[in-house]
């Protein structure tokens, strides 16, 4: 049941947001890879109160057949919200919003993948929103990209995503639910970190050209940071799964071998400070 009210301000006189963040600060993000045993690849993300699971199945036989692509795999993303993930119970049937988001998520992920390796098949990406608190499509992309990597789908890079918005006239990174609802605009975006090309861009609300460009710049910075978190999560999952005797990683995850650098296009990016 929803008993929320519009907050008095989105940016406090001290310049802080309703959850105490600075305008360019992300919510705490927890990524976990390999959470579902039955899936070929899986990952979960907690971003603030948003909680999402993603599973990848495939490449596998495609039904219905008429969707078959002869030169590459069909990437099918299905974004679904649990009925209890939002303040008022969501109707169980897929909404128009869920269908649109499924499509833009597939478009955001596809440019990073070498789908031509698997013609006439499907790669299914199933996304289940368990708790929605703003920024679900971007969080979904962050998790889905990791699930694709976990499934071993060849890719040029992971795809990070984040939303930039505007509240009380100020640009803010990674909108929470209230900021999305009562703010003045929302720009969800996703990038390919190795080329800095944009694979998802949507906008609502009112932005001037200068504001929009600044917002996208802010989103880029956010995406680059999330990309580092994604790589960390992936390495952690595989260090944990390494067979016994392959190293001392078992206990000390801080010191796993960093041999995935080349695959992840990490060498192009500045190192994160510890």
């Amino acid at each position: 049941m929803s008993t929320e009210k519009r907050p008095d301000y989105l940016i406090s006189p001290e310049g802080l947001r309703i959850d105490g963040r600075r305008p360019d600060e992300l919510r705490p993000i927890e990524l976990e890879v390999g959470i579902l045993k039955k899936a070929d690849g899986s990952a979960s993300i907690r971003q603030g109160k948003t909680y999402i699971m993603a599973a990848v199945y495939g490449p596998r036989e495609l039904h219905p057949k008429h969707l078959t692509l002869n030169d590459r795999a069909y990437l099918r993303a299905v974004y679904r919200m649990a009925t209890f993930s939002v303040p008022d119970r969501k109707k169980p049937a897929p909404s128009r919003r869920e269908r649109e988001i499924s499509m833009v998520i597939a478009n955001a992920l596809e440019p990073a993948l070498f789908l031509e390796e698997f013609p006439r098949t499907v790669v299914d990406v199933f996304i289940q929103v368990i708790q929605a608190d703003g920024g679900t499509r971007c969080a979904a992309i962050n998790a889905a990209s990791l699930a694709l990597a976990d499934a071993g789908i060849p890719m040029s890079c992971l795809v990070p995503a984040v939303a930039v918005g505007k509240a009380d006239g100020k640009l803010i990174l990674d909108l929470g639910d209230a900021e999305d609802k009562y703010g003045q605009g929302d720009v969800p975006m996703a990038i390919l970190p190795n080329t800095e090309e944009i694979t998802l861009l949507q906008q609502d609300g009112k932005f001037t050209k200068e504001e929009l460009l600044e917002a996208i710049g802010m989103g880029m910075t956010g995406c680059r940071y999330i990309h580092e978190l994604q790589k960390e999560a992936l390495k952690k999952a595989y260090a944990k799964r390494a067979p016994e005797g392959a190293g001392e990683e078992e206990e000390d995850l801080g010191e796993y071998d960093d041999d995935m650098e080349a695959d992840l296009g990490e060498s192009d990016l500045p190192e994160e400070d510890e």
């Binding site: 049941m1 009925t83 209890f84 303040p87």
Partner: protein, 273 residues
């Protein structure tokens, strides 16, 4: 959960599972009347759902979320609240599940869990009234399969029960025809705690808590819901057309009476007060 006997399973697997049973063993080393490890976590969707729980039996995992919404009562029961349980066998959980509207197996799952809750009168629906004949609380308990390795019904029933026990929702009252929140938090009025136990019949054997491969070779499945007073409140024979003898059903009833106590205890323990 549904009838997966038509799914591909190799003759070797089929013969192996049945052969082992003849020797008194199961593929995962369990006794015939033994559950896999059961784990229950409540309050997993704290910010948006009024109640929630994840139940795990072995590698089968189900999440349940409860929403409580004020609404209008059905015209034939003006003095009763509404309780509804739905289930989705989401494709995230298994390569065997597909997208699209719920198929008959997901509908059966929801209805079998619903019957366990409804027939045991677990929820005192007469206490879900805001204003008789006009406004009542509608309790929606929605189940999503997260991982599927057999015995979805028991895992779903556990998740549903734990999420209902976990539920706290804001009280509302009617003032001048409008709903006003009173700032009180209410619990769902519970008066019973049903538990469901599911068996597979494979050849002449009866096994409790089947894994997916056992469901694939089963002749049929039998689910029995048991309430706190050791009454049977719901039964369902499904998962294949194979017949079952009365003697075997009696054996299942005895086992359900015994095993339901352990599960009920686990559900109670999972709820933070």
């Amino acid at each position: 959960m549904g009838d997966f006997s038509a799914e591909v399973i190799s003759h070797i697997d089929r013969a192996y599972i049945r052969g082992l049973l003849d020797k008194g063993q199961r593929t995962d080393g369990r006794a015939f009347d033994e559950y896999r490890e059961i784990e229950i976590q409540t309050g997993v969707v704290p910010a948006k759902a009024e109640g929630s729980a994840i139940a795990r039996i072995g590698d089968t995992r189900v999440i349940a979320g409860v929403k409580v919404v004020p609404g209008e009562p059905y015209s034939d029961t003006p003095d009763e609240g509404v309780v509804m349980i739905t289930a989705e066998m989401a494709p995230i959980a298994s390569p065997l599940f597909e997208t699209g509207p719920p198929q008959e197996d997901a509908i059966e799952l929801a209805r079998v869990v619903d019957r366990g809750v409804r027939e045991s009168e677990m929820i005192d629906i007469k206490k879900l009234i805001i204003s008789e004949g006009k406004k009542v609380y509608m309790v929606f308990c929605d189940l999503y399969t997260l991982e599927y390795d057999g015995n979805l019904i028991d895992a779903s029933a556990i998740a549903a029960a734990a999420s209902l026990l976990d539920t706290k929702f804001p009280e509302v009252k009617v003032e001048d025809g409008e709903l006003i929140p009173t700032k009180n938090m209410l619990r769902i009025p519970l008066q019973n705690l049903p538990v469901e136990c599911t068996f597979s019949k494979i050849g002449k054997h009866l096994v409790l808590d089947p894994v997916l491969k056992e469901e694939m070779v089963q002749d049929c499945r039998l689910t029995i819901a048991v309430d706190e007073q050791d009454n049977f409140t719901a039964m369902q024979k499904g998962g294949g057309a194979g017949p079952m003898s009365l003697a075997m059903m009696e054996q299942a009833m005895d086992l359900a009476l015994e095993k339901s106590k352990m599960i009920r205890e686990a559900v109670r323990k999972s709820v933070k007060v």
